[in-house]
Each structure stands twice: as structure tokens, then as C-alpha cells.
């Protein structure tokens, strides 16, 4: 089967001469349709740079990135086949929502990249209300502004915004690390449920091992811009081959692991 996302020897360097910095080195990665692919690594390991190259914010210095067999970049120009096919949920919901727009405007905004007909169809009031209630907000909150919401609610708005275009592939760039621990589990469960309902493919970026383990079925471990290990999630957790992965795993506090189990149970209670 053709992979949904394929990265072939992708590298990214910033600056030149003495200031030259290699953020990402020779990444090869495939993400199959329907997968939830986890990307683990400490801060500065190049995870976010990878996400930026996928979503069009930074061109790769070399290598190719393909979505469903079509290259996303032509040189320095980002050329996605269809707008709205890929979406991203950023880490910080404080700054990723335009403070001068209402929730309704924010959620509908990605549709302005589509054709007028598609915009009308996907931006119907009915669909909007359905989506906003699905992510756990009330329809009468649509006319409010972002500053009136808590961090968790804002992230829900950002998730609704990412789903309005009916994307195939969603990048989640540490979607819960800016949130309170108590809210994290709820948002993770929502993301998990939405993935099944909309047959989404996720790239889930996190430095939190337990979150990745809870969310993903495939994973790659990044260290200093390189992928040091990749494979099914349980393989990596049970039989880490690389020294770095072992270090990462040993940093995982037993209590944290227990917390994830709780969240898992919690989700089981919620889902029918």
C-alpha cells in the first residue's frame, strides 16, 4: 500500500558558515494511512522542524516530502495538491488563535483556502454546530473571543478548526503540553475518538513518553536531528535497542505511567 506520508532523506540546515546549524539530518520516514505515528524526542531534537517542513512553514534543505505520492515542495515553494488536506494543531493555544476573531470566525477560517462551493458546503451552520459540540463546547460560545476561554477549551477550538476542512492528515505538535494535567487526558481522549470517527492519520509530536504510548501505534525516536529508532510502539517500549531510547524510557516515572493507565480506563468508561 502506498504510504500517506513519505520522507526521503530529508535534511534541514539553518544559516551558513560558522552559524550553520543542522536541525534535521537525513530523515527517512513513512506514515501509513490510518496510523497514529508518534514522534518522540527532547526539546531541540528537530521534531518541530520536521512538522514545519510538513505543513509548509519551512522548506527542506534537501530530500523530498511526499503526500500520497505527490511531492509537497517544489524547491522553496510549498505546493500541496489540495488545500485543507493537511492540518496542524499547535502546542500553544494562547497564541495560535487570532485574538480579534470570534470562535466561529476562527473555526471557519481554514475554509477560505478552498473553493467557494466547498466552503459553503463544509462551512454550513449545521456542520459548525455539530463540530463545536463534538469537541465539547456549546453552540452559544461561537460568538465569543478566545480570551474568554481556558487553555483546554482553546485547544478544543484549535482542534475544531483543524477538522473543518475534513483533512486526511493532522499534525499534532505537542497538543497537550501547554495544558493542565487534569485537562490533558480529556483532550487526548477527544483526539483519539475523533481519529476513529473521521478516519484520520496523525503525526503526534511529544516529548512525553507516556502520552505517545497512549496515543500512538507507530513511533520514531529523534535525537539531535536524527531518527535513532523507529517501529511499533510496544516494541520500542518493551525492547528498546538504542541507548538513547533506554535513557528516555528510564526517565519515565512509574507514577506517570500509572496516570496514563488511569486515563485509559477513563476513556473506556466514556466510550460506549
Amino acid at each position: 500500500m502506498q504510504p500517506l506520508i513519505e520522507l526521503k532523506s530529508v535534511s534541514k540546515t539553518y544559516g551558513s558558515g560558522k552559524k550553520r546549524f543542522q536541525a534535521v539530518t537525513d530523515i527517512n520516514l513513512t506514515i501509513q494511512k490510518g496510523e497514529s505515528f508518534g514522534l518522540i524526542g527532547e526539546s531541540g531534537s528537530g521534531k518541530s522542524t520536521l512538522a514545519k517542513m510538513l505543513i509548509g512553514l519551512e522548506p527542506p534543505s534537501s530530500g523530498t516530502i511526499e503526500l500520497a505520492g505527490k511531492p509537497l515542495w517544489e524547491g522553496d515553494k510549498f505546493k500541496p495538491q489540495r488545500p485543507g488536506e493537511m492540518q496542524i494543531v499547535f502546542q500553544d493555544p494562547q497564541s495560535s488563535l487570532d485574538p480579534r476573531m470570534t470562535v466561529k470566525e476562527i473555526i471557519l477560517e481554514p475554509l477560505y483556502a478552498l473553493s467557494a462551493g466547498e466552503r459553503k458546503q463544509k462551512g454550513s451552520m449545521e456542520r459548525l454546530q455539530q463540530l463545536i459540540t463534538r469537541v465539547g463546547l456549546k453552540t452559544d460560545q461561537l460568538s465569543r473571543y478566545p480570551h474568554e476561554f481556558s487553555g483546554g477549551q482553546r485547544q478544543r477550538i484549535a482542534i475544531a478548526r483543524a477538522l473543518i476542512t475534513e483533512p486526511k492528515f493532522v499534525i499534532l505538535d505537542e497538543p497537550t503540553s501547554a495544558l493542565d494535567v487534569s485537562v490533558q487526558a480529556n483532550v487526548l481522549n477527544l483526539l483519539k475518538e475523533l481519529k476513529h470517527e473521521h478516519q484520520l492519520t496523525y503525526l503526534f509530536i511529544s516529548h512525553n513518553m507516556s502520552v505517545i504510548r497512549y496515543m500512538c501505534d507507530q513511533t520514531a525516536v529523534m535525537y539531535k536531528g536524527e531518527i535513532v529508532e523507529t517501529g511499533p510502539i510496544e516494541d520500542i517500549f518493551q525492547h528498546p535497542r538504542q541507548a538513547y531510547t533506554k535513557t528516555l524510557l528510564s526517565s519515565l516515572h512509574p507514577l506517570q505511567a500509572a496516570g496514563v493507565n488511569q486515563a485509559e480506563n477513563h476513556s473506556n468508561e466514556l466510550s460506549p
Binding site: 505543513i55 509548509g56 512553514l57 500541496p80 488545500p83 485543507g84 492540518q87 496542524i88 499547535f90 500553544d92 497564541s95 495560535s96 488563535l97 487570532d98 485574538p99 480579534r100 476573531m101 477560517e109 481554514p110 477560505y112 483556502a113 476542512t165
Partner: protein, 289 residues
């Protein structure tokens, strides 16, 4: 404890904006003065029995009295009436000039800052050229070249005001371009035109508003200056600068003729400046006073 809290008087609800405005007495003075002038200017046909341009030679140079509050000029026109008709003109033009410069400058600055590169370089160097001249000299040159009338004076002042807004909006845009919500809009595939109009400009507008209110007083002075030099409104239009220009020759014999238009000019530009300061303090509390 709970009993005590119940005994506290009910909280008075004060509009926070009005509260901040009230705390600044000078702003309030400016507001009162301006409102006074504006109201008088609006209702001048009801207040004054005279017409601003009707000549009545018999009563020329009558000193201030109950009949002619600020006296009359060299052809017997009531100065009080002319000042108030002049207020319509000066205030209206001051606001119009600065608003148009603000709108045009912000649009250019946002485009320049968003796209960067060569477009940005060209626009900013053009603005530097405009800024390199002393503003009054340039305004005079433009007005004189285009021909001395009110509209050309307006155009000249707008031209010299635009670069200020271009720079302001550009600086603001450069900062906003790095904000996550603007980058997010970019990742959706939104076209630059919509990003600029929907995300950049609405978020860059606060410093522009502050600059507009601070500039109106200056623009009113500028209109009067061009009028004084004969490059703006032409007689018999009741424009403050033009009135002073004719009147100052009579200062020693008929002191009231140039004095009252000058006073009106002073009050209006002062009023706008005080309000501008107040609005800046409200919208941008971090700015140095």
C-alpha cells in the same frame, strides 16, 4: 466574615474605559474644550445671526461687544461667526487628512512588511525620501506645485503624513508575521491578501489609532499654516490660517482681528493633543508619558 461581606455596599459598576479617561484630568479638559467647539460649530447658524462671508462695510473694525462677540474684520464680517464656520473646516479637514493618511499608510505598511524583499525595500526608500524633507517645506512645495486651494493643501498634508503610518504599520506587521495565529493562517493555505486584511491589520490597528489622535492637532495647525501662507483656503473662505494671515497686519490697531482666530487654533490643536495623549495612555499603558 460572611456577615461582613454582606454588609459591604453593592459594587458600583463603572465602565473601565471611562474610569481611566476620568482619572486623567488633562484629557478631560481637552475633551470638554473640543466638544464645546464642535457643538458651537454645528449649531452656529442657530447661534449667530450673521453670515460668514457677507460684507457689511459700515460696521468694519468694531471692537468686541455684545453685538459682535469677537468684533468685526476689515469688511465688517462678524469674527465670532467666521471662526465657528472656520472650525467646521479646520476640524473636518484635520480629521479627514489624518484618517486618509492613516488608512493609506497602514495598507502600504502592512503590504510592505508582509511581503518583505524588494517590494519592501522600494516602498521604504520612497518613504525615506518623503521623510528626508522638513514636513512643512514639502507640504508647501506640493501645495504650491498643485496650485493653491483647499483640496491640494489637504493632499499635500496627507502625503507628508503617510510615511509615519507606513513605518508604524510595517513595524507592527513584522512582529505579527511571526505570531503563531498568522503562521497558522498561512498553513491553512490562506491567500496573502486575506492574511493581511483579516489577521495583520486588525491586530496592528491600536498604535495606528493612537498616532491618528495625536496627529489630528498637528494636521489642523498645518492646514492653518498653509492657509496663512496663502497656499490653502482662499479668501473669503472663513479659514483660521487665512484669517490670521490677513488680520495680523491690523494687530496693533485692531487687536481682536488676528487674536481670536489664533486662540481658536490654539484651543483646537491643544484639545486634540490632550485627547490623543489620553487615548494613548488608555490603549497603550506601557508607553512612556
Amino acid at each position: 466574615m460572611s456577615v461582613q461581606t454582606e454588609l459591604l455596599p453593592a459594587k458600583r459598576t463603572v465602565n473601565p474605559l471611562w474610569y481611566k479617561f476620568r482619572k486623567n484630568p488633562l484629557t478631560l479638559v481637552g475633551l470638554v474644550v473640543l466638544l464645546f467647539i464642535i457643538l458651537l460649530a454645528i449649531f452656529v447658524p442657530l447661534i449667530s445671526p450673521y453670515e460668514p462671508t457677507k460684507i457689511h462695510v459700515v460696521e468694519r473694525f468694531s471692537p468686541p461687544s455684545a453685538k459682535h462677540l469677537f468684533g468685526t474684520d476689515e469688511v465688517g464680517r462678524d469674527i465670532f461667526t467666521r471662526i465657528l464656520y472656520g472650525a467646521r473646516l479646520s476640524l473636518g479637514m484635520g480629521v479627514a487628512v489624518v484618517l486618509s493618511a492613516g488608512v493609506i499608510g497602514t495598507a502600504i505598511g502592512a503590504v510592505s512588511g508582509y511581503f518583505g524583499g524588494r517590494i519592501d525595500q522600494i516602498i521604504m526608500r520612497l518613504m525615506d525620501i518623503v521623510l528626508a524633507f522638513p514636513s512643512l517645506v514639502l507640504a508647501m512645495a506640493v501645495a504650491a506645485t498643485l496650485g493653491p486651494n483647499l483640496f491640494n493643501a489637504l493632499l499635500a498634508i496627507a502625503i507628508i503624513k503617510v510615511p509615519v503610518y507606513v513605518r508604524l504599520a510595517r513595524a507592527e506587521t513584522l512582529a505579527l508575521r511571526e505570531r503563531l495565529y498568522v503562521k497558522a493562517a498561512y498553513t491553512f493555505g490562506i491567500k496573502p491578501w486575506r492574511i493581511i486584511t483579516r489577521h495583520i491589520i486588525p491586530n496592528a490597528v491600536t498604535p495606528v489609532i493612537i498616532q491618528v489622535t495625536l496627529d489630528i492637532g498637528d494636521a489642523i495647525l498645518m492646514v492653518a499654516t498653509l492657509g496663512f501662507l496663502g497656499l490653502g483656503a482662499q479668501p473669503p473662505t472663513p479659514e483660521w490660517g487665512a484669517m490670521i494671515s490677513v488680520g495680523w497686519k491690523y494687530l496693533l490697531d485692531y487687536w481682536w482681528y488676528p487674536t481670536f482666530p489664533g486662540l481658536a487654533l490654539f484651543l483646537a490643536s491643544c484639545g486634540f493633543n490632550l485627547i490623543g495623549d489620553g487615548i494613548r495612555d488608555i490603549l497603550d499603558p506601557k508607553a512612556n508619558r
